[in-house]
Structure formats: structure tokens, C-alpha cells
């Protein structure tokens, strides 16, 4: 359960930027959670308001976009979404793949007042 730590890291990061921008409140935060990022969506959504309490982001809307795992196959050239958690080409089964998306946990944007 490291989602509270993740949420705190997020709150620290957006808080720092918001203060630099002279904002008085963070209204909305958009994040993108990759299927293989190791972050559980529900646990993170639960931890977020706890981490935000008492700071600029208290009461902010959390907008989560789930990013599926997408791999490009070097063997057959297909770009596919293998069934979680398999990281093999869904078209030909090859393991010679490059992960295109689904590994990252990112802050996309925020809205401040």
C-alpha cells in the first residue's frame, strides 16, 4: 500500500507548482495511471483526499485516466493490447516487443484559481 505515499508525492509536487504560480487553490488534478505502473486506481483515489487535506489541493477534483498496456511487436509489426498482465504480442505471441504505454504514472495537468 504505497498509494498514500504516491498521493503525498503528487500533492507535494502540484502544491509547489501552484504556489510558484501564485494560486490560492487547486481545483482539479488530472493523472494517468498505467496498467503496469503498480498504482492501484481505487487505493489511489482513496488516498488522494487524505493526502490533500489541509493544503491547496483540499477538495480538488481528481480526474483519473486509465492507460492500457500497449506493445509494438518487432516480429510481426502489430501494435496490440495484450491481456493484463501479459507483455507478449497479442497477435503473434512474440516476446520481442516494445512497451508503448501502460508503465507510467503521470500528472497530466491541473487547474488552479
Amino acid at each position: 500500500m504505497h498509494e498514500l505515499g504516491m498521493a503525498s508525492a503528487l500533492i507535494d509536487q502540484v502544491g509547489e507548482i501552484a504556489r510558484r504560480e501564485g494560486a490560492t487553490r487547486i481545483a482539479r488534478i488530472e493523472v494517468r495511471i498505467g496498467a503496469l505502473s503498480g498504482v492501484d486506481r481505487d487505493a489511489f483515489a482513496f488516498a488522494f483526499p487524505i493526502a490533500a487535506e489541509g493544503g491547496l489541493a483540499e477538495g480538488a477534483v481528481l480526474d483519473i485516466e486509465d492507460v492500457p498496456l500497449v506493445v509494438d511487436c518487432r516480429a510481426c509489426g502489430a501494435s496490440t493490447r495484450p491481456e493484463y498482465p501479459i507483455v507478449l504480442c497479442a497477435a503473434c505471441g512474440s516476446g520481442d516487443v516494445a512497451v508503448v504505454s501502460g508503465e507510467d504514472f503521470r500528472i497530466i495537468a491541473m487547474e488552479v484559481e
Partner: protein, 294 residues
């Protein structure tokens, strides 16, 4: 288009660049249907390395001479939108990068051992330090929530050892490791082994500045563990299956375990060994020596 009044910006446009920041400014002056004067200033693309912002401000000059000013983001709300596109663990990533550069500058390779509690990390490390003694200079950072038992087990094998007690935390982070580097990486050290807190979930997310994440899995744990905890086994390019001396006593299906590992990490480098009997240890020791260029 402005949602307040429906007008389009674009009467005048200017592009500014300086101090690493670029700004595209559009202004428009028009008369609204009610005779009010609208001055729109749209600024976008600020900020070189910093956050990109999109600002859209309006001044409404009404017939009575009053001037109202407001600012809003793309959604038409009274919010300013700031584009970030950064990793949530950016602070840890920066600390990990500092560790990596510090280690690289000294020709030291770090490996980050991650597994469940009880998978045999510490015994493997004891045998590894014994085998590499006099061949490759080693140092160890070991993490546990509490006690320095592991550090004491690993002491006296010719390698400096420090214990990090993480208390409530379930993983090591790059700042904790960075704070110990100068103490543990003494002259002659070429290989730094970081024994992470026993946990298959959280340590996977935190880069410590290592060259390789190495996952451990004991045959007492079940062959489907890579599928149950895919994030770690996907992130780790190397996996060590430990305690293989126990195989005759268990129903562990080694072939299925290899298949599961290759399913989540197709190019995994795999070792199968028993630190207790020494079976398979030679290939592992050779790999580590090769990693540091010996």
C-alpha cells in the same frame, strides 16, 4: 472561441521568446451585441522547461465606463490550466539519477534485490559476498522496517554494510539510499547490493539508481507469483529462483514458473539456484562479476 461571448480571437498576434520561455499572444477587440467592448488576450505556450500554460483573459468595457476583467482556462471556468506531463515520483526519480551519476563516476554498479519476505535474499547475499570476496569489492545497503539483524548477519564478510530501518515505510527510496552512499561505498567497492524491504509491490515503483532490478522468487512461494505480482517481475530484467534444493519436497512447477516470468518479462535473464547447497551459484556469481566488468 470564448464561451462567454462567442467571439473568436485572432485580430492581432505576436510571438515572444526570451529567457527560455516562449509566448504566443493573440489579442482581439470587438463590440458585443449589447455594445460592450471586449478585449481578449490569449497567451499560450509559456515556459521552456517549466509548466506550459494557457491563459485567456478578457476585459469587458461596458457603456457605463466600467471595466471588468476576468481570466479563465480552456474550459471557460475561472481556472487556469497548467499542463505538467511529469511523473508523480519525479522527486524520487531525480534522487535516483543523482545516485546513478554518483555511482557511475566511481565505476560502481548497483543492483536492487526485491522479493517477498522469506524468499532467501539474505542467505543468497551471504553466500554471494563469500564467493566474491577478493574478486569483486562489494558493499551492501539492506532495508527492513525494523532491526539490524540482516546487517549483523552480513557483517564480517569483507564488505561494508549499512542497515536502513524504514520504520513504517514498505520500500526504500532513492533519498534514503543516497544518504548512505558515501558511508558504504568505500575505496575498492565495485558492486553495491541494495537489499530492499521484503515486499513484492511497493519497491518496484521506486528507482534507487541501480543498474538492474533483480527479483527473487523462492520455490516455496508458488509458480504463479509473477502473474500475481506482475509489476515487479515486469520491471526486473533479472530474476533469481531460489531454494531449488526444496523442489523434490514441493509441487512447484518450474516450467510453468518460467513461462509466467517470460509472459510478463519476455527477455528476463533467469537464474535457478540454492544458496544453501550451492547448486546454480556459479552462474549467478559469474553474472555479477561480468556486470562490474570482471
Amino acid at each position: 472561441m470564448c464561451r462567454d461571448c462567442g467571439c473568436e480571437a485572432g485580430n492581432a498576434r505576436a510571438f515572444f521568446e526570451g529567457n527560455g520561455a516562449k509566448a504566443d499572444v493573440e489579442t482581439k477587440v470587438d463590440a458585443g451585441p449589447d455594445g460592450t467592448i471586449h478585449i481578449h488576450v490569449e497567451i499560450s505556450g509559456l515556459g521552456g522547461k517549466g509548466p506550459r500554460e494557457h491563459r485567456h483573459s478578457h476585459e469587458h468595457s461596458h457603456g457605463d465606463g466600467q471595466v471588468h476583467s476576468h481570466e479563465h482556462g480552456e474550459g471557460g471556468e475561472a481556472h487556469k490550466r497548467i499542463e505538467l506531463e511529469t511523473r508523480v515520483l519525479e522527486r524520487n526519480d531525480r534522487a535516483a539519477l543523482r545516485n546513478r551519476e554518483w555511482l557511475d563516476a566511481r565505476g560502481v554498479v548497483a543492483v536492487n534485490l526485491i522479493s517477498s519476505p522469506g524468499s532467501g535474499k539474505t542467505l543468497l547475499l551471504e553466500r554471494t559476498l563469500e564467493a566474491l570476496r577478493g574478486v569483486v569489492g562489494c558493499a551492501v545497503i539492506t532495508g527492513d522496517q525494523s532491526t539490524d539483524n540482516d546487517a549483523r548477519r552480513l557483517a564480517g564478510k569483507g564488505a561494508p554494510v549499512v542497515q536502513i530501518e524504514t520504520r513504517a515505510a514498505c520500500h526504500l527510496n532513492a533519498e534514503q539510499v543516497g544518504a548512505q552512499l558515501e558511508r558504504v561505498v568505500t575505496d575498492g567497492v565495485r558492486l553495491l547490493v541494495i537489499e530492499n524491504v521484503g515486499n513484492l509491490v511497493c519497491p518496484a515503483a521506486f528507482d534507487l539508481g541501480e543498474r538492474r532490478k533483480i527479483a527473487l522468487l523462492s520455490v516455496a512461494e508458488g509458480e504463479d507469483k509473477p502473474l500475481k505480482y506482475p509489476v515487479l517481475f515486469h520491471d526486473a530484467p533479472v530474476c533469481v529462483i531460489t531454494k531449488i534444493d526444496l523442489l523434490p519436497h514441493l509441487d512447484f512447477d518450474l516450467a510453468r514458473c518460467r513461462e509466467a516470468l517470460r509472459g510478463v518479462r519476455p527477455d528476463v535473464t533467469l537464474f535457478e539456484l540454492s544458496a544453501r547447497t550451492g547448486e546454480g551459484m556459479a552462474a549467478w556469481i559469474d553474472y555479477l562479476a561480468h556486470l562490474v566488468g570482471r
